[in-house]
Amino acid sequence: MRGLGVFLGKELREIARTWRIWVLPGIVLFFAISGPPLAEVTPQLLSSVMESQGTGAVIELPDPTYVDAYLQWTKNLSQIVIFALIIMFAGAISAEKRGGTAILALTKPLTRPAFVLGKLLSHTILLTVTTLVGAAVTWGLTLAVFGEAPLAPLAGATGVWLVSALFFVALMMLLSSAVDSQAGAAGLGFVVYLLLSIATIWEPAVTYSPAALVNAPTEIAMSETVALGWPIGTTIALTVLLALAAVAVFRKREL
């Protein structure tokens, strides 16, 4: 794995010094900051909207709680943040191939597995740190707004989501090493997301596959008990397989 340390260092500096530092962390922090206040005012907003319609209907909504803030957080992670991740990471390898930067790096003693692993690790670090900071902000603001914020549901939901997000990181590494077009790789990433979402209606998939992790963060945020041993195990195994496949595909490619 020669060159991994140097290349990983380059990747982390690149994240810190280019647009990458703003996109994913920006989105996650925006949702972390806006989620709890929005959860508190949502019932009032809905009531105002209904009253302005002049229908005379009165809707009684329960008072918002910390659960609403947690649900905002997990829904945003499961949809918008995953979409951003798919788009952003779709060009992780192909962009270096297209731009010629991979050629200068890979004609030095940097192995191709180290190149792919450097990308995977740097993106994993970015995603994990961003998610943890976002979760901490969500927890703090939820406590400030609602006066209570139990840690376990938020930590559990965020942790399970992170497992599924890392599956998508590995998937996008594979697609980016196999497909030269960033749009094409992103399109295939969305197809996988869609298939997993559809698979949630099929009981065996929910029991054993990563499809269970699509809705699990929301259920955990609501303090429901969910059996996730198999889905987490298969998701981690598939993540490792996808990473190995990304390395194998990139090794065979001509630059």
Partner: protein
């Protein structure tokens, strides 16, 4: 003599197209070797195979005895490479990029710092604070040569290093290459004949995936006739073409588009005496009599075909 590069029966096909058609080539260590050929001849494909970026369909290629397919890391440790269009991390500065490149070779500390400073000086980039994204093409190309030298390579491979540059940029890069003579083997591809004539001591000409010739520059020129005389006469000299063409010491006699007579000769001494005499005998006045070496361009056109 140690061979820096030894290629044997190298074939590369893309579908039905033979990019490389089974050629052999030896590049002696210490030479500045020009790899010349028209666009599409297979130069870049050869360099991509030598640098491990592409795989040969068949045949073999070795760099200092290391097979480029099975010992790719050993090859890369000995080689500095500059592609035809180098891509940089444009958010870096030149010193940062050189440090990154050196780090990949396992260099660190004072050794790396010393090389970075020396190469920035060689590339004329000392003190340049801007990021690479703001560099001109010439600056990027000079940085490209510098990064290829960070590991003090035994072999420097450059793919069309001057093709996209203006005359000043070309001169700067060629001066850099010329300054490496005696320090490292340089193997560079180009379709610019003047660049090869200026800095190379050996040359191979590639055409349609095959090596047409590979030899020392001096041998190539002498083998292809040595000298040419261009004669400007008062009066039409076209009838002399056939007559001179029959002489033993004449390799080729042609009329140029501007009406001057061009005579390539194999025996210069005889030509110097006989040509003016032939002009006088033909009843023509001699306005100008110019002798010069046959250029690589003429050899190139002769070898790869004038239809290009």
């Amino acid at each position: 003599m140690t061979q820096a590069i030894a290629i044997s029966g190298l074939v590369k096909t893309y579908g039905e197209v033979n990019a490389l058609d089974g050629f052999d080539l030896q590049v002696p260590e210490g030479s500045v070797f020009g790899f010349l050929g028209p666009n599409g001849a297979g130069k870049t494909t050869t360099l991509r195979i030598l640098s491990g970026l592409a795989h040969p369909t068949s045949g073999s290629a070795e760099v200092f005895g290391h097979d480029v397919v099975t010992s790719t890391l050993a090859v890369r440790a000995e080689v500095g490479f500059l592609p035809d269009v180098p891509g940089y991390y444009e958010w870096m500065t030149a010193p940062e990029f050189l440090r990154f490149a050196g780090g990949l070779f396992g260099l660190s500390g004072p050794v790396l710092n010393g090389r970075v400073d020396a190469l920035l000086d060689l590339a004329g980039l000392t003190g340049v604070k801007t990021r690479i994204g703001g560099y001109s093409r010439g600056m990027k190309q000079r940085l490209g040569v510098a990064q290829a030298l960070i590991n003090a390579p035994r072999l420097l491979m450059l793919d069309e290093p001057t093709s996209a540059l203006d005359p000043i940029g070309r001169k700067e890069v060629l001066d850099m290459i010329a300054s490496l003579r005696g320090r490292t083997t340089v193997f560079f591809s180009t379709h610019i004949l003047a660049d090869v004539e200026r800095v190379c001591d050996r040359v191979a000409i590639l055409d349609k995936g095959r090596v047409v010739t590979s030899e020392a520059m001096a041998d190539l020129k002498s083998r292809y006739g040595g000298q040419r005389f261009v004669i400007d006469t008062a009066g039409d000299a076209s009838h002399l073409v056939d007559r001179l063409g029959g002489e033993e010491w004449v390799a080729e006699a042609t009329m140029l588009a501007d009406g001057r007579l061009s005579v390539a000769v194999s025996d210069v001494d005889t030509a110097q005496r006989a040509l003016p005499a032939a002009i006088v005998q033909a009843g023509l006045g001699l306005k100008r009599f110019e002798a010069g070496e046959i250029s690589l361009e003429e050899v190139f056109v002769d070898l790869v075909g004038g239809e290009r």
